[in-house]
Amino acid sequence: MEATSTTQTLSPGAGAFSTAKKRPLLAHPMTEKAFIFFARGIISVALLTLIALIADVAIDGYERLTWNFFTAFPSRKAENAGILAAWTGSLWLLLLTITIALPVGVGAAVYLEEYGSKGPFTKLVELCIANLAGVPSVIYGILGLQVFVRSLGFERSLLSGALTLALLALPIIIMASREALRTVPKGYREGALALGATRWQTTRTQVLPVAIPGIATGCILAFSRAIGETAPLITLGALTYVAQVPNSVFSPFTALPIQAFNWLSRPQPEFHTNAAAAITVLLAFMIMLNLLAIIIRAKYQTRQR
C-alpha cells in the first residue's frame, strides 16, 4: 500500500517517527485495535472484580442478616452472636470523629486558603499535610496509643478512638476543603472586601456558604473512609469482646471492622459467615454515605449553572 500511495508522508505513522520504511508496529491500525481491546478487557476485569468483591461478601453474609444479628452482643456461638456493640460503637465513632475533625479541618483549610500568606509557616503546614496523607494508618494507631490512651489517660475509650480517627481524616478533610474553597470565584471576596467587610466577615458570609457543598462532599468521603479503618483501632487496643452499648465518650468500645476482623481470624467457618454479614453492613453504610456525597455534588453542580 505504501509503495503505491503518493501521499505517503501524510499517512499516519510513516513520518519522522518511523525509522524503517516498513510501517512501524505502533503505527499499525491492528496494534491500536489490539491495545483498545486489551485496555477494555482490563477495565472489565477490574469492574468484575469489584462486583465479585461485594457480591462475595454479601452472598456469604446474607443468611446471617436477621434482626437478631443487629440486636445481639458477641457470643461464643456464631449463630447467636450479633453486632449491637459494634454498630453502635461505629456510629458513636463516626459522630465523635466528625465533631472533632470537621471544625479543625475546615478551619485549617480556611486559614491556608483565605488568610495564609505564602510564607514559611504555610509552606511547612502544606509539607506536613502532604506527608501525613501518606502515613500508614497503623502509625496513627501507635500515635493514639501513646498519646491518647497512655499519656492523656483516656484509656481504650471511644474518645481515644475518635481522636485517632480524626487525626487520620484531617489531611483528607483539609485537602478537600481547600479544593472547595478554591472554586469560589475571586470576585465574591473582592466584592465583600470592597464593601468594607473584614476578612472573617467575607469568609463567613460570602466564601463559606458557596463552598459548603464541596466541603460536605469531600468530608463525607473522608469520614466514610475513617469509619472503615481497622488497623489504627486495633493498634490502639480497641477491645474485640464488648457486651455493652457505649453510653459516654469514655466507654470501652468495639467497631464493625474490628468485630469483623475478630470473627475472620477464627478458624470456624460459621464465624466467617458472621464476619461477612458484619462487612456487608459496613459496606452498605459506606455506600449510603458515598451516595449522599454524589447527590450533594449533583445538586450543587446543577445549581451552579
Binding site: T9, L10, P12, G15, F17, S18, P24, E32, F35, I36, F38, A39, I42, I43, A46, L47, L50, A52, D56, V57, D60, G107, A108, V110, Y115, G116, V125, C128, I129, N131, L132, G134, V135, I139, I142, L143, V147, R150, L170, T198, R199, W200, R225, G228, E229, T230, A231, I234, T235, P257, A260, F261, L264, A275, A276, I279, L282, L283, M286, I287
Partner: protein
C-alpha cells in the same frame, strides 16, 4: 471612618485568625508527635538491642523465649507482598489511565472516575476477606500445596486495592501533558499510539513515576489485607506460595496480644513502626519532589 482595615483594631478578627492558625498548625503538631513518639520508644528499644543485631540476624522472634531481632524476615515479607501487588497494579493502572484519557468517551470517563473513587474507598478489611476466602481457595485449585495463608493472594488483593489510586494518579499525570505536545507529534506524522508512547507518556513520566512510588508507599503501609491473608510467620524467603509476615502485620500481632507496657516486646512495636514510617516517608517525599518538578515543567 478608616479605609485601611489594618488601622482598626478588631479583637474578634484577631482571635479568629489565631484560632484558624492553631487549626492549621495541628498538622505540624501531629507530624512532630508521630516522630517524637516513634523516636522516644525506639531509643528505648535500641538501648537494649544494638542495631547490629537487627541487621546481622536472619530471624525475627521477639515474642519467643529465645529472642532474635533480625529485621530481614519482616522486610522481605513487606517487599514480597508489595512487589506482587505492584506488578499487577502498575501496568493495569497505566493502561486504564491511557485508555480513559486518550480513548474513552466523555460518558465512559464520567462513569469510571466515580467508580474508581468508590473502589478506593472500600475498607481494606473487605479486601482481606476477599483474599482469604475467595482468592486463596481459587489459587489452591492451581497450587494444591499452597496453605491458607500465603503472600500471593494477599499481594493480589493488595494490587486490586492499589489499582484505582495508580490509575487515577496516572490519569492526572497524562492529563497535564499540554495539547501542543500531542499536536506536535501528530504534525510529525505520528499515529495515535505513536503519539501516546512517543509524546504523552514521556511527557507524563514524572507524574507516572510519582504515582508508582505513592502506590508503593501505600502497599508497604497496608495492614489489614496482609494481617488477614498473608499469615503471621516471620520467615525469611521470597516464595509467594508460603506465608510471610510484614512489618504492619507484626504491629497488629503485637497489638492483639497482651504485651505488658514498657517491656522489650512492647518496644519492638515502636522500632518496627519507626522503620515503617521512615520507609513510607522516604517514598512519599521522593514522590512529592518528582511531582513538584514535573508540575514546574509545564508551567
Amino acid at each position: 471612618m478608616s479605609i485601611s482595615g489594618k488601622s482598626t483594631w478588631r479583637p474578634g478578627e484577631f482571635v479568629i485568625e489565631w484560632i484558624l492558625r492553631v487549626c492549621s498548625s495541628l498538622s505540624v503538631v501531629t507530624t512532630l508527635g508521630i516522630i517524637a513518639v516513634l523516636s522516644i520508644e525506639s531509643v528505648l528499644f535500641f538501648e537494649e538491642v544494638p542495631v547490629s543485631r537487627l541487621l546481622f540476624d536472619t530471624e525475627w522472634t521477639p515474642l519467643f523465649l529465645d529472642k532474635h531481632f533480625g529485621i530481614w524476615p519482616l522486610l522481605a515479607g513487606t517487599l514480597l507482598t508489595s512487589a506482587i501487588a505492584l506488578s499487577f497494579a502498575v501496568p493495569a493502572g497505566l493502561i486504564i489511565a491511557i485508555y480513559v484519557s486518550e480513548y474513552a468517551s466523555e460518558g465512559v470517563r464520567k462513569v469510571l472516575k466515580p467508580v474508581l473513587e468508590l473502589l478506593a474507598g472500600i475498607p481494606t478489611i473487605v479486601y482481606g476477606y476477599f483474599a482469604l476466602l475467595f482468592i486463596t481457595p481459587m489459587l489452591q485449585v492451581i497450587f494444591p500445596e499452597m496453605g491458607s495463608f500465603n503472600a500471593l493472594s494477599a499481594g493480589i488483593a493488595m494490587g486490586i486495592m492499589i489499582l484505582p489510586m495508580m490509575a487515577s494518579l496516572s490519569e492526572d499525570a497524562i492529563y497535564t501533558v499540554p495539547r501542543s505536545l500531542r499536536e506536535g507529534a501528530y504534525a510529525l506524522g505520528a499515529s495515535k499510539l505513536q503519539m501516546i508512547f512517543g509524546a504523552v507518556l514521556p511527557g507524563a513520566v514524572g507524574g507516572i513515576t510519582a504515582a508508582m512510588i505513592l502506590s508503593a508507599a501505600r502497599a508497604v503501609g497496608e495492614t489489614m489485607i496482609v494481617a488477614i491473608a498473608a499469615g503471621q510467620q516471620p520467615l525469611l524467603h521470597l516464595n509467594p506460595l508460603q506465608p510471610v509476615e510484614t512489618m504492619t502485620a507484626y504491629i497488629v500481632q503485637v497489638s492483639l496480644g497482651d504485651t505488658p507496657h514498657g517491656t522489650l516486646e512492647y518496644h519492638t512495636l515502636f522500632a518496627v513502626a519507626m522503620m515503617l514510617f521512615l520507609l513510607t516517608m522516604t517514598l512519599n517525599i521522593i514522590s512529592l519532589a518528582i511531582r513538584e518538578r514535573s508540575k514546574r515543567m509545564y508551567r
